[in-house]
Amino acid sequence: MDLIKDIKRNRLKHRQKEPLKKDIFNQISSIVKRYELNKNFLKVLDGVEDYLSNVNLNANRVRVKASMESPLFSLVTKDEYMLTISIIKKIGNSYLKFAYSPEEILLCGPLFRLNPSLTPENLERYHFETLFLHERVKADNKEHDEISNRSIEDT
């Protein structure tokens, strides 16, 4: 009886449709194609930390995440392929497949460094700039609390 049940369960499992998993190459190559990115983008990616330290991001600003439907299978030219692979290698974290625009690709690294355990729902829903500002404020507050606690203890 157990064997029959087991076979039935297995068959049912195989019959179920599995959603196609998001492929990081399709996602990034579609952004590269859509925004016509070129090699210069890699230079911007290298200097993103300097850029973020200089630029004054408004904490009250809430960016709307751009909607994007990446194709199931993406084929690109040789240059676009090289650039896509370079971006994937350079960033190399799990947030990248939730980036919907070049700006979000740039913020992938800093955001991951601030909080590597963001949920896929949040990454899918909010713009990376909003998440980054939120995490940065959280980190600043934490730092501030630690300093004040330490000063209380000292006194």
Partner: protein, 372 residues
């Protein structure tokens, strides 16, 4: 295919095959790497024509379409563009069927040279000179302002050399277009070559027509340029009108015409001798049976059943002719014109409707707006 021809990318041509730049994704890259491994001898030994992928100084091209199959099937692949190009080239050499047919169209000759002289005012004075065909064409070219384009076209039409050359080439089976060169090229060059090749294909398909056309043109080669311009103008516009007489090509049947004469404004009287001014209309006869006069426009009249276009005129005891001759066309038009202008008798109130309102319960067509 259209996208390919409209783009401007580099392609590779080998043994009549178009090789397109290879697009990549990680799996394709893996396959390429496996295919072009230095250990694999078949990648090098296979002749280039059989290769699906060709490597050319670190660039990859993938085998696509065969150029000649593209040419042969162009009509099926892109019917709209094929028709457009076909019309363009046929027009370039004046090979459209209407143009040649118009020179040998017997119906048109009857209308132009036998019916028209009856209805138009040919002479200023009271001369009653009968015009021959040449003089009639002279008369038309004086009366109608034929655009300059048709005079230029007429000159080209008389030049038989291009057609003769095409025929000679077709008969000798001499390929006019060279084969497309193998090697690296652009889609823009391919498009230019393709357009030329399509032209040749169209002309080869139309060989019978070219022969017929040449025969007709040789027959009319001594005709005056102005006369050819008139015929080309008629072939293009399909209509002509002089002094209220005219003809227009039938929408329903090709090679058939509607021949008409305008009534001009006229008055009719009702039972009480009140006048009604009727607007102008065109009384016509179709060269396609039945030969019964009708009014082209939306019109109302006691002899027309309703108020709509294309109504036959009510004529009691009228027997339409069975044959299309100049005399019959003239008779039918005159019968129709006479019926509309003089057929209604106010005292008898003949026809479908009465001009004055009668005490009948059935609503009928009203002519109050025409009352003077």
């Amino acid at each position: 295919m259209k996208q390919l021809l409209d783009s401007n990318i580099e392609i590779f041509v080998e043994s009549d095959f178009i090789y397109m730049p290879l697009l990549f994704d990680p799996e394709v890259v893996q396959e390429i790497q496996a295919l072009f491994q230095p250990q694999r001898p078949q990648a090098i030994s296979t002749p280039p024509a059989l290769n699906t992928i060709i490597r050319l100084s670190n660039r990859y091209f993938v085998k696509g379409l065969e150029i000649h199959s593209l040419l042969d099937n162009f009509k099926a692949i892109n019917a709209y563009d094929y028709e457009r190009l076909r019309n363009h080239y046929l027009r370039k050499y004046y090979l459209l069927s209407e143009i040649d047919d118009i020179f040998i169209d017997e119906t048109l000759r009857i209308i132009l040279f036998q019916v028209m002289p009856y209805f138009v005012r040919k002479n200023r004075r009271l001369e009653r000179k009968k015009l021959n065909n040449e003089e009639m064409l002279d008369f038309i070219s004086k009366k109608i302002n034929i655009p300059l384009k048709y005079h230029q076209d007429a000159k080209s039409f008389r030049n038989l050399e291009p057609l003769k050359e095409i025929l000679r080439n077709l008969k000798d089976q001499k390929p006019i277009t060279k084969f497309f060169k193998n090697g690296l090229t652009t889609t823009r060059k391919l498009r230019d070559w393709f357009n030329e090749a399509i032209q040749e294909k169209i002309l080869a398909d139309e060989q019978d027509r070219i022969e017929k056309s040449l025969q007709v043109r040789q027959e009319f080669s001594k005709t005056k340029t102005e006369h050819i311009a008139v015929m080309l103008y008629i072939a293009d516009t399909g209509a002509l009108e002089i002094d209220g007489f005219g003809f227009t090509k039938s929408n329903s049947y090709t090679q058939e015409y509607l021949v008409y004469k305008r009534t001009g404004e006229y008055t009719l009287q009702d039972y009480y001798a009140r006048s009604y001014l009727f607007p102008d209309c065109r009384v016509a006869i179709s060269t396609y049976t039945p030969f019964w006069p009708f009014v082209i426009e939306k019109y109302k009249h006691p002899f027309l059943l309703r108020h709509k276009p294309g109504q036959e005129i009510c004529m009691k005891d009228y027997r339409p002719p069975e044959e299309l001759t100049a005399e019959n066309i003239i008779n039918v038009l005159e019968e129709g014109l006479t019926a509309l202008r003089y057929g209604y008798d106010g005292r008898r109130r003949n026809g479908y409707h009465s001009l004055d309102k009668t005490w009948v319960h059935i609503p009928t067509i009203d002519f109050e707006e025409y009352r003077v």
